[in-house]
């Protein structure tokens, strides 16, 4: 790794101290970040009476694998998983499609009223979801989509935020490319598909990650729009371990570990895009 502090590859004598300090700081930071995850894993393998033991127990006196068995058996976890995967993947694909088309229009096509329309579109970002939730719900009921995949996937398939992000990126692509393609007889569709989209790769990759994570973790909409256990997604299913009087922490944590695995895999596979996406959009820590 090349240290930004030093700015050179072969540190001379004395600079290894800075190196050490830097890595020490980074190490401390990562320990701080990883501790909660370690605690989650540890709690998920404890018996209930050890969860809040004092002094804290890191290694359970007996590894309670049965927590995982119980978590999976009291709830149709496989089904929640499948639902979450279907919903998150579909929302991501559809949202990239719709917002890239809209962004293309706002960034590359000239038409009357473009800017005011875009401003209006952006203004919807100011309205909190809780305000539109009940009208949305009534609309979905009216369409007969209550408690179905359509209700889970289609409303979040359109996003002003994603449109904004892609538009900003597309505006950085030189207009000469569109003009050259047009002179060669390409339609707007073709310019979108063969010129602009391939060039927007980094933005789309970054956006996909955020949209996917957002959809994977979304709670309120899936909660109100689904009724049967079969249509529940992971976050809604997990919250069932929080009762009126007590929380079954060991099961909740076991469920959280199970739910976290795919996100972890996505992260490890797409690590490079994550870093690029955060620097590109300034959306760290969301």
């Amino acid at each position: 790794m090349r240290s930004t502090l030093l700015g050179r590859r072969h540190p001379r004598s004395g600079s290894w101290v800075a190196h050490l300090a830097l890595h020490g700081a980074l190490l401390a930071g990562s320990v701080l970040m990883l501790l909660p995850f370690a605690w989650m894993l540890s709690t998920s393998l404890k018996e209930p009476r050890e969860v809040f033991a004092y002094p804290p127990v890191w290694i359970p006196s007996r590894i309670a694998w049965e927590n995982y068995v119980e978590t999976v058996s009291v709830m149709p976890f496989g089904r929640f998983y499948l639902n979450s995967a279907i919903v998150a993947v579909s929302i991501t694909a559809l949202q990239i499609l719709t917002s890239s088309l809209a962004a293309f229009a706002f960034a590359r096509l000239r038409f009357w009223g473009r800017e005011p329309l875009f401003m209006l579109y952006l203004a919807t970002l100011m309205i909190p979801f809780q305000v539109t939730m009940i009208p949305n719900f009534i609309l979905i009921r009216y369409l007969g989509w209550y408690d179905s995949y359509k209700a889970l996937i289609l409303p979040p398939a359109f996003s002003a935020f994603s449109t904004f992000l892609l538009r900003q990126y597309m505006r950085t692509i030189p207009m000469d490319l569109d003009e050259a393609a047009r002179i060669d007889g390409a339609s707007s569709w073709r310019i979108w598909g063969q010129v602009i989209m391939p060039l927007s790769g980094p933005a789309i990759a970054a956006l996909s990650i955020f949209v996917f994570l957002g959809a994977w973790n979304d709670f309120l909409w899936p909660l109100v729009i689904t009724a049967s256990l079969d249509m529940r997604t992971l976050p809604v299913g997990l919250s069932a371990f929080q009762g009126q009087y007590n929380v079954q922490w060991h099961l909740l944590m076991a469920g959280s570990v199970i739910a976290l695995i795919p996100v972890l895999v996505v992260y490890i596979v797409a690590q490079r895009w994550f870093v690029e996406g955060i620097t590109l959009s300034g959306m760290g820590g969301r």
Binding site: D147, K150, L220, L223, D230, A240, Q244
Partner: protein, 447 residues
């Protein structure tokens, strides 16, 4: 180069569209259109009711078995269930009510606090139904029905009564050489025992507290000492916490914490609540309702229960409140809904099944005094303690007017939290009362 990317994108889209198509989910026919089934010779219409409740996965199983038992007795009524976790249940139900769509609104549902929702007009007034069917209200514990009444009418039938008893760990008492709590225990006896049960390490860290009790339950002490939060819990005109009876009780609870006999409220929630600290032995006693019994039995604790100690010359003052079964005003099967609701709250119906599950202390006296509760064969041994508290239960913990939730949540509880964190009641309570009075005046009380 870009061909590869395009190909990927198209594939991705195709897959997601296929996934959408493959998983076409057919929603069940709405309750509004009951499917007419041919029941052999007699063409009996089957009515479908939507029944909603909150609960852990285990509790949901109990609810489902109750629904099955009802359907076995009533073949012409089909019960569909909807379960939500406690923390999200109310969000969901209010969204459904706001939609005003009878096909998705539950016909019968679990609710707390009933008066608040009754005031919003979403609940069916049960008075006419009770009158018509001759349902017996006299079997409920005293003052319990009031927690489900509004404007003088019954809007819900409480399933259980959330009164507190004193749980104590026998093994800790034995180890400390302290005699078990008795029915005659006063506040002084509690303090004397607490002195022996509390262990403070030289470093000043409390290794074991005598008592774990949520700060929000302070009203129990106030009521025992003949004090009250407001002068009238239905139509209040002023805050009465500053009166000597109430102040004495608040001071008593604050002293327990200041002397390290009771855990501070913030520490208690930090440590995972009273169940967790009782299980781990960080406290020797807790004061809590019957909901803890199944957790302690599951963990195989050596424990028992006793009535809550009262001040000399004081009274028992358990809280008469409990979540109730209600009917939606928007239900389009009210006849069947009442049949189900009244069966849920009958001695041989739902009440017996819930009591057998060990999850509740029943709302009906006849069930509590029957062997189903008293001789269940499971701990705690001294189940009589619940009966004694129930016979003396009183209104007073909760206000039965529309703005109570807001008043309690935004003014009273945060104010009391300052005391549980160590501030002087003499200073805090008058400030809280001043704010309460201002709030009441602002909202036009007394009405």
């Amino acid at each position: 180069m870009y061909k590869g990317r395009m190909f990927l994108m198209v594939t991705w889209l195709v897959i997601s569209v296929l996934a959408l198509g493959a998983c076409q989910y057919q929603p069940p026919p709405p309750a509004a259109a009951p499917a007419a089934e041919e029941a052999g010779a007699e063409e009996e219409e089957v009515v479908t009711l939507l029944w909603a409740f909150w609960g852990s996965p285990q509790e949901a199983k109990t609810h489902q078995s109750v629904a099955d038992a009802f359907m076995a007795e009533h073949p012409n009524i089909k019960i569909e269930t909807m379960v939500e976790p406690w923390s999200d249940y109310f969000t969901k139900i209010q969204t459904l009510w706001a939609s005003g769509d009878p096909s998705v609104i539950p016909d019968v549902l679990f609710l707390w606090p009933t008066p608040r929702y009754a005031a919003q007009g979403v609940l069916e007034n049960l008075d006419p139904w009770i009158e018509k069917s001759g349902y017996d209200l006299s079997d409920y514990w005293p003052a319990l029905l009031e927690s489900a009444m509004w404007n003088g009418s019954v809007y819900g039938l409480p399933r259980d009564i959330g009164l507190e008893v004193l749980y104590y760990r026998k093994d800790i008492f034995d180890e400390a050489g302290v005699a078990y709590p008795t029915e005659d225990w006063t506040w002084d006896d509690l303090v004397a025992a607490a002195e022996k049960l509390t262990i403070v390490e030289p470093s000043g860290r409390v290794k074991r507290y005598a008592l774990g009790m949520e700060g929000g339950k302070y009203q129990l002490w106030v009521g025992q000492n003949y004090g009250s939060i407001l002068d009238d819990m239905r139509n209040p005109s002023r805050c009465t916490l500053t009166e000597p009876a109430a102040m004495e009780a608040i001071q008593f609870f604050a002293d327990l914490m200041n002397k390290n006999y009771a855990m501070r409220d913030a520490n208690l929630s930090q440590a995972g609540g009273d169940t967790a600290v009782f299980l781990s032995g960080q406290v020797a006693m807790i004061i809590q309702n019957s909901s803890r019994v199944s957790a302690f039995n599951e963990a195989g604790l050596d424990y028992d229960v006793q009535v809550v100690p009262i001040p000399k010359g004081g009274q028992r003052s358990a809280s008469a409140g409990g979540a109730a079964w209600v009917m939606s005003a928007a239900s389009d099967n009210k006849e069947a809904a009442w049949t189900f609701l009244s069966w849920l709250q009958s001695k041989d119906g739902g009440q017996r099944l819930y009591t057998e599950s060990g999850e509740i202390f029943p709302a009906l006296k006849s069930v509590a005094y029957s062997d189903v509760f008293l001789r269940s064969g499971k701990p705690p041994a001294n189940r009589k303690a619940f009966l004694i508290e129930a016979e003396n239960a009183k209104v007073g913990r909760f206000g039965y007017f529309d703005e109570w939730g807001e008043l309690n949540g935004s003014i009273i509880l945060p104010g009391m939290q300052r005391i549980w964190a160590g501030e002087d009641p003499e200073k805090v309570v008058p400030e809280v009362c001043e704010q309460v009075d201002a709030f009441l005046a602002e909202h036009g009380y007394p009405k």
